[in-house]
């Protein structure tokens, strides 16, 4: 391992789900973490259904309290593997539903791309955290998934809700409890176009 790689390894923060207020508050935008524990996949269609269930007083397919959602729908599982290729989908499409989910206990979100001001504000208010995963490295990401279980909405196919048990999934904190925003910071530091 070269010096750079050793330094990067030392900078990694190991965290586990379910996330607590303290853990969320300790994370800052730009922190590189390795996440382990149970997380749930849910994206567009599953969010619409969960939101409708919440607003009409119906039960959710899983307990949102301290839960972490991965905005993802995996490719089919090849023979002999736990899961097929999996990676983040773009998060803004979940923004309309997210504040309600956070108010009901959701702590962690894994996706890619900017969130709305409302989501960023709710993250601050409820001590949640939004992680960025790298898009387009789905074969590598699949290796961090140790177990997969169908939870709900089977008829949605790839968009069904699945419970994943992950080990050391590499993520970067994008939005933290203090209003820190990795993408905004990246712009301030790297933009040179007048």
């Amino acid at each position: 391992m070269n010096e750079q790689a050793v330094k990067e390894k030392e900078n990694l923060i190991r965290i586990e789900t379910p996330l607590t207020d303290d853990v969320c508050a300790s994370l800052g935008a730009g922190d590189m973490v390795l996440l382990s524990g149970e997380i749930y996949t849910a994206r567009d269609a599953a969010h619409r259904r969960m939101y409708d269930a919440l607003t009409s007083g119906h039960a959710l397919p899983f307990d949102l309290k301290r839960a972490t959602i991965f905005y993802a729908a995996p490719a089919p599982t090849p023979v002999g593997r736990v899961i097929g290729s999996i990676g983040p989908t773009t998060s803004y499409r979940m923004d309309a539903f997210t504040p309600a989910l956070i108010e009901h206990g959701l702590k962690g979100m894994i996706g890619k791309g900017n969130r709305s001001p409302e989501v960023i504000e709710t993250i601050k208010q409820y001590k949640a955290v939004y992680f960025g995963a790298i898009g387009g490295i789905a074969a590598l990401t699949a290796r961090t998934v140790k177990r997969m279980e169908l939870v709900a909405y089977r008829e949605l196919g790839p968009e069904a809700i699945r419970k994943l048990t992950v080990a050391d999934m590499p993520l970067v904190v994008v939005n933290d409890t203090r209003g820190g925003d990795l993408y905004a910071r990246a712009q301030r530091e790297w933009r040179i176009l007048a």
Partner: protein, 288 residues
């Protein structure tokens, strides 16, 4: 007369077309092209941001692992977009061309562990087999069929835009539109991206030109029109000065290439389309 014509027709069986299309989509989804890998490695050398370098390193590592494991490079194995050039002296036997291609797509997505990503626009129910495929069919001279498969991800397609600019907007208007599109897209389309730029024609041909531009090997400049080659180089420099960087986490490499295509347009119009492609720029082709 009729007999003479049929004697010059070359026969290609629908079955062969189906098998070829199946292989194209599995190959395209599991093996990233050499052109893309070369561009990514060049990007890694250029990238100054430590986080950006790490992202690029992981992307390259993923391509190598996906190929070895026969797994899709990205879970979004896309809409099945195809460009087909059918020679007018070819006769498809044992079925029709469209059905043969559609069958190939179904088999690839069923047997290749590729995700089915198509749904009804209103009910959002999955169609179950990743069809209908999106086919752009051309009749050309000759007795061969050329098929290009281009699995196209939703995240980058969502960040693509078209506009009917005024002729007065000119080159500066095109530049502003491209930069605004890339800037608004930010981290969403999985940078480093490839920008397909279509100029001219009508609304739909501008979009088609932009998509066709993405089929060029990554970084190969427009060889037909020097003005476009110059525009590509300038836009690439400007886009990389936006600082979005790999995965949008900041850096020098926001785009790997800009590819522009152009055709004449109406005297009243300046149609422009930007088709954004993520770094998993997948395409594969076969000639039958």
């Amino acid at each position: 007369m009729e007999k003479k014509t049929s004697a010059t027709l070359r026969r290609v069986s629908a079955k062969n077309i189906t098998q070829a299309v199946k292989k194209l989509f599995i190959d395209a989804n599991t093996k990233l092209g050499k052109d893309v890998l070369t561009a990514l490695r060049a990007g890694l050398k250029k990238e100054e941001s430590p986080l950006g370098r790490q992202v690029l390193t992981r992307i390259i590592e993923n391509a190598s692992f996906a190929s070895k494991a026969q797994m899709p490079v990205c879970q979004d194995t896309g809409l099945a977009v195809l460009f087909i050039e059918a020679g007018q002296d070819v006769r498809v036997t044992g079925g029709d061309l469209r059905t043969a291609i559609e069958e190939g797509v179904k088999l690839a997505y069923r047997d290749g562990c590729l995700r089915k990503s198509l749904c009804d626009p209103l009910t959002r129910m999955n169609t179950g087999d990743n069809t209908p495929a999106i086919m752009h069919m051309d009749i050309v001279s000759g007795s061969q069929i050329r098929i290009i498969a281009m699995p196209k991800g939703g995240g980058s397609e969502n960040m693509s835009r078209a506009a009917m600019l005024t002729p007065a907007a000119g080159l500066a208007g095109i530049r502003d539109f491209v930069l605004e599109t890339v800037e608004k897209a930010g981290a969403n389309p999985c940078p480093p991206i490839i920008v397909g730029l279509g100029i001219g024609g009508s609304l739909e041909t501008a979009c088609l030109l932009a998509k066709k531009a993405l089929l060029r090997p990554v970084g190969r400049k427009n060889k037909k029109d020097r003005r476009l080659a110059k525009m590509e180089a300038q836009l690439l420099e400007d886009i990389n000065a936006l600082g979005i960087g790999p995965a949008g986490m900041g850096g020098r490499v926001t785009a790997l290439a800009v590819h522009a295509e152009m055709m004449p347009c109406h005297i009243a119009s300046l149609p422009v389309a930007v088709n954004i492609q993520c770094h998993a720029a997948r395409h594969a082709e076969v000639v039958l």
